[in-house]
């Protein structure tokens, strides 16, 4: 049984076909890295999974149940959509923390709204706070509970964003180039957190430019080019023994620097 099955996703922006026919599966606890040059469609794929873009065609199955058939469900109700997208969590390249709220509130806000917790339900609020603090500990930021996003470094903000995504216990956690907006010396702390999540059996999809990281952390790698999956396999095969000429070229140019 696979936790995620993606079938024949197609997506265009105007006349440009960004995703031509994407299919893959992911098992529970697996980490999938998606690599490829800019414009290859990796981010769009991730955004389709999170319903930030709606594909024209294709199906997504979660736990073998059909979650969405884009061809027929194009006009979904907002409430249905919200339920479905909770299967996925998304960590953005630019963190997108809520600047006006404390770190704690950044984590708890969505849960409070989702579970419709009233202000006087002290017990439930406390429970949610505790869960948030627990997650902040996991990303090593329990001392920043009352800080505001602007007081944190980029790496710390991204770790908060990861904890925030985990608050809703998504089945699959997606990362959209989580370290691309960070200074090189800050990428390490974020990658370390992701690596720890992997050891904790979190199912993840990571769009990344960090080739070494993809190689070390993934169970499976997809190489995308021009909207198709050009090559896929386990990281050792893919990185050490690339088959397609485009992957060879991509690897040699991205490992050069």
């Amino acid at each position: 049984m696979s936790i995620l099955k993606v079938e024949n996703i197609k997506k265009s922006f105007g006349n440009i076909e960004v995703l031509k026919d994407i299919s893959f599966t992911l098992e529970k606890g697996e980490v999938l890295s998606i690599i490829g040059s800019s414009g290859s469609g990796k981010t769009t794929l991730l955004r389709c999974l999170n319903f930030l873009e709606s594909a024209e065609q294709g199906k997504i199955f979660v736990d073998d149940d059909l979650l969405v058939d884009f061809a027929t469900d194009s006009s979904q109700k907002d409430s249905q959509l919200r339920q479905k997208r909770l299967n996925f969590g998304l960590v953005f390249q630019s963190f997108n923390l809520f600047p006006q709220y404390s770190i704690l509130k950044n984590l708890t806000l969505a849960v409070q709204l989702l579970e419709d917790v009233k202000k006087n339900n002290k017990e439930k609020l406390k429970e949610i706070d505790n869960r948030a603090i627990e997650l902040l500990k996991r990303v090593g930021l329990e001392d920043k509970v009352n800080a505001y996003p602007c007081e944190l470094s980029g790496g710390q903000q991204q770790r908060v964003a990861i904890a925030r995504a985990l608050m809703l216990s998504p089945k699959i956690l997606c990362f959209d180039e989580p370290t691309s907006a960070l200074d090189p010396e800050l990428t390490g702390e974020v990658l370390r957190v992701i690596r720890e999540l992997r050891d904790g059996d979190t199912t993840m999809i990571i769009v990344t430019h960090e080739m070494n990281f993809a190689k070390n952390v993934s169970d499976k790698v997809i190489f995308m080019a021009d909207g198709i999956i050009e090559e896929t396999g386990n990281p050792t095969d893919l990185f050490e023994n690339p088959q397609s000429p485009r992957l060879k070229e991509f690897l040699s140019s991205s490992l050069k620097d």
Binding site: L52, G89, A110
Partner: protein, 214 residues
């Protein structure tokens, strides 16, 4: 005419200005938000109508709008405006709502798309995203242009005299017609004091929002 007597009469007039100011804000602030929603609507016809409305209101003098609101109901529909103050209030609310709507629109459109998307992937509804995530950031961004507009409103209220609302400048010109000219200049102090208080209030609010940067 003693100084105290003049002061009392001018103050009576100024209370009219204050009333017009407060009531205009009360109605035009929410109305402006509604209009800004219209001007950002995905439905083309709504967008077109609101844009045209804002164009007409911003493109014609407020003084003219006061005349229109005061005289047109009587001339065209045979139901004259009973209260001059109500007519002034309607004209001011419409005029200021149009200006506020553009300030709101600027504020709302300046919020990065990522804030909406973060709310979406966290399962929030559209209205939750607007009220819990976006609105407070918008408020922080629009405080400076809003203060500007609101301070302009304080002084604009004296335009109501063109339809004979007995506001402070009207009172002062009454004195002038009796040959006493100094009360006219004295009115400046009332406006200055009022705007001074507002300025302090706005800088206090701005400081309140200083605890974070976006």
């Amino acid at each position: 005419m003693s100084f105290v007597q003049v002061s009392i009469e001018l103050l009576e007039g100024f209370l009219q200005n204050c009333y017009l100011f407060g009531a205009t804000l009360l109605f035009s602030l929410p109305l402006g938000l509604v209009i800004s929603m219209g001007s950002m609507s995905k439905i083309k016809i709504i967008k077109f109508i609101t844009k045209a409305f804002v164009w007409v209101i911003r493109g014609t003098p407020l003084m003219l709008q006061l005349f229109v609101v005061f005289y047109v109901p009587g001339l065209v529909f045979g139901t004259p405006m009973k209260s001059r103050m109500t007519a002034a209030l309607i004209a001011f609310v419409i005029n200021y709502a149009a200006y506020f709507s553009e300030i709101y629109r600027g504020g709302i459109e300046s919020i990065p798309k990522g804030q909406y998307e973060a709310g979406q992937v966290l399962g929030m509804t559209k209205s939750q995203i607007f009220f819990k995530v976006v609105l407070m950031q918008v408020v922080k961004r629009i405080i400076p242009p809003m203060s500007n507009e609101i301070i302009t409103l304080v002084k604009d209220t004296s335009l109501a005299r063109v339809i004979a609302v007995s506001e402070i400048l009207m009172q002062a010109t009454d004195f002038t017609s009796k040959g006493i000219i100094w009360p006219l200049f004295y009115t400046a102090l009332f406006f200055l004091a009022f705007c001074g208080i507002l300025t302090l209030l706005f800088s206090y609010i701005e400081k309140k929002f200083d605890y974070y940067r976006s």
